[in-house]
């Protein structure tokens, strides 16, 4: 980071916070502090929904995932448009007309108080854990760039986000999100253009796409059905639909965004905008990761992208052999990649087949050497099942982007964190105050009292998220970890809302028992089987509905 990078970074962040706080003035009642007085236009909600979902994890980890595993993660989002349509047609008008602050408030009207309380507690557990992950990701960025301990950067980021969210309420959160998405798009486009511009002169953009595809990095759709495979067309369309139904229909961090709409139509438009824009956006982010992969075909890449772990294994007696294997394979892959481009230009099918085989063989060697290095990390006392996915994009950014752009991309990471984290903390505080405190502990207090309680609750959840962020690095690739945590709880929440909307005979006790059974089924599946986490939502939802129907019968 040079002085210009710091100027770009600080200017971006300060302007986001100040603009959000400026738009949030007058948030002095519960309705304004938690729901912006229900006055928001569709485009602000749409970008806020997008920003809340697209945390820093999306940019750090998705690009790394594409680098090592290709673009098939995009299939995860195939269920999103279906879920959005279902939510627009069902829960959006119901929530609006019921004039609720939270999704769980609706459950009391439909079932009873204990079902509402259980749903609220499940949400608090799930979102509280995710909030830690959201803060941890950019802390990772700063620790890589500045060499600071992750605990210090986590605390610093947490403090900024907490302050900003406590003061501004949801209006600050939403309007900041709008500005943050602008910075995010700008930074990502700049990163992709720079990556392509830095490739060798004989490698065109078309060649780069060809090379990424030849290495299996453009595998956007895989049609095989496998319960254990995390990302394929079927898990995306079925499992993804259930996950997004849960996320956008039952998760207060998203429901609260579209509850701020000035009408049902405005809320629907905000969700449908995401139905259309989200898949291309994820495709674009994954494509950046694939291009970073091509970039490193021609530029020496480190054996492991995390410097601390490289230093750790440097003393190992096995390290020189692994490094030598990696270097040989990298050189072979580079030569084969250039040969493949030449054969493509010459339209020589036989040479293309030969070079492609050599290229893929070299890639397998590289993957093997990297796997050996990961084992060395473990043997040297490092993390078990170590993966450096989260460091790949950041290493590229800090080493190869020109001055100024580094600051911009780091601002992207910060902007994404602030938007996602503030939305989460804000929703956690809302559920704590509206569904638990105001409902069970302190009924009938003044509006001012509940605004104050909301601010305290925001502070509490912010501190909680920072503490949890201290140990989330053990969960593996961050983007998957975020969704894994969500999937442990979403299925039962979704099942409860399905019962509320479509099974009129089911009453409170049956729904309550069903949720407990659904949660037990999900946790059992997670601990005792290796079924992919994308299916947890389907299993949980089905068990909740089936159990409630049996109890009702």
């Amino acid at each position: 980071m040079r002085p210009l990078d710091w100027i770009v970074l600080v200017t971006s962040l300060v302007s986001i916070v100040l603009y959000g706080l400026y738009r949030a003035r007058g948030s002095n009642t519960v309705d304004r502090y938690l729901l912006a007085g229900r006055t928001m236009p569709w485009y602000a909600m749409a970008l806020s929904i997008m920003a809340t979902q697209a945390s820093a994890v999306t940019f750090i980890s998705t690009t790394g995932q594409s680098y090592v595993d290709g673009m098939r993660f995009v299939q995860f989002y195939f269920g999103l448009p279906l879920a959005m349509v279902a939510i627009c047609a069902t829960v959006v008008p119901i929530f609006h007309r019921a004039k609720v602050y939270t999704a769980y408030e609706y459950l009391e009207g439909r079932f009873d108080g204990k079902t509402r309380a259980l749903a609220s507690v499940i949400f608090l557990c799930q979102r509280g854990l995710s909030a830690g992950l959201t803060i941890y990701a950019p802390a990772l960025v700063l620790s890589v760039i500045l060499g600071w301990p992750e605990s210090l950067t986590t605390s610093l980021i947490g403090a900024v986000v907490i302050t900003y969210t406590v003061i501004g309420g949801i209006k600050a959160v939403t309007w900041s999100d709008v500005q943050q998405m602008g910075i995010i798009f700008l930074g990502l486009i700049a990163a992709l253009v720079t990556c392509i511009a830095l490739m060798p002169s004989q490698v065109s953009f078309s060649d780069a796409v060809f090379l990424a595809g030849a290495a299996g990095r453009l595998n956007a759709v895989t049609t095989n059905f496998d319960w254990h495979d995390q990302f394929n067309l079927w898990s995306g369309l079925i499992g993804g639909t259930f996950l997004f139904l849960s996320y956008f229909g039952c998760d207060q961090s998203q429901v609260q965004r579209y509850l701020t709409g000035r009408s049902i139509a405005q809320s629907r438009l905000s969700l449908l905008f995401n139905a259309v824009a989200k898949i291309p956006m994820q495709f674009f982010i994954l494509f950046i990761g694939a291009m970073v992969f091509v970039f490193y075909l021609f530029t020496p890449a480190p054996l492991l992208f995390q410097r601390a772990e490289m230093q750790r294994i440097g003393a190992s007696g096995d390290y020189p052999a692994v490094q030598a294997r990696y270097d040989r394979a990298s050189e072979a892959r580079r030569a084969a990649a250039l040969g493949l481009v030449e054969a493509r230009h010459a339209d020589d099918a036989a040479a293309q087949a030969r070079q492609k085989a050599a290229y893929r063989a070299a890639q397998r060697e590289i993957d093997g050497a990297r796997a050996q290095a990961s084992q060395l990390v473990e043997l040297a006392g490092g993390e078990k099942n170590f993966r450096d996915t989260n460091y790949i994009f950041l290493t590229f950014v800090t080493r190869y982007l020109p001055v100024g752009l580094v600051g911009l991309v780091i601002a992207v990471i910060f902007a994404a964190t602030m938007s996602a984290s503030s939305g989460e903390i804000n929703s956690l505080a809302t559920v704590t105050v509206v569904d638990l405190y105001r409902r069970h502990w302190r009924r009938g207090a003044s509006d001012h009292h509940y605004v104050l309680a909301s601010r305290w609750a925001t502070l509490f959840w912010g501190v909680y998220a920072v503490i949890f962020a201290g140990w989330v690095h053990r969960l593996g690739a961050l983007i998957v970890a975020v969704n894994k945590v969500g999937s442990l709880f979403y299925g039962s929440l979704l099942g409860c809302f399905v019962l509320a909307l479509f099974f009129r005979k089911v009453r409170g006790t049956a729904a309550f028992v069903g949720m407990l059974a659904g949660e037990a089924a999900i946790l059992g599946t997670a601990w005792f089987t290796d079924v992919s986490w994308l299916w947890y939502n389907v299993i949980g939802c089905a068990v909740v509905v089936a159990t409630a129907l049996v109890v009702t019968a």
Binding site: H96, Y106, V221, A265
Partner: protein, 44 residues
Amino acid sequence: MPERPDAPDEPPPFLGTWRRVYAAVGVYLCLIVLAAYLFTRAYR
């Protein structure tokens, strides 16, 4: 649960009805999955 009188169910700004808008999103999804599939086949 109180009903909210100031939450009108307005028509969408395009395509006339919400049902048509939802159908358009469904068609869009089919097209985008098809495009991604063709992209994968073209570059594998």
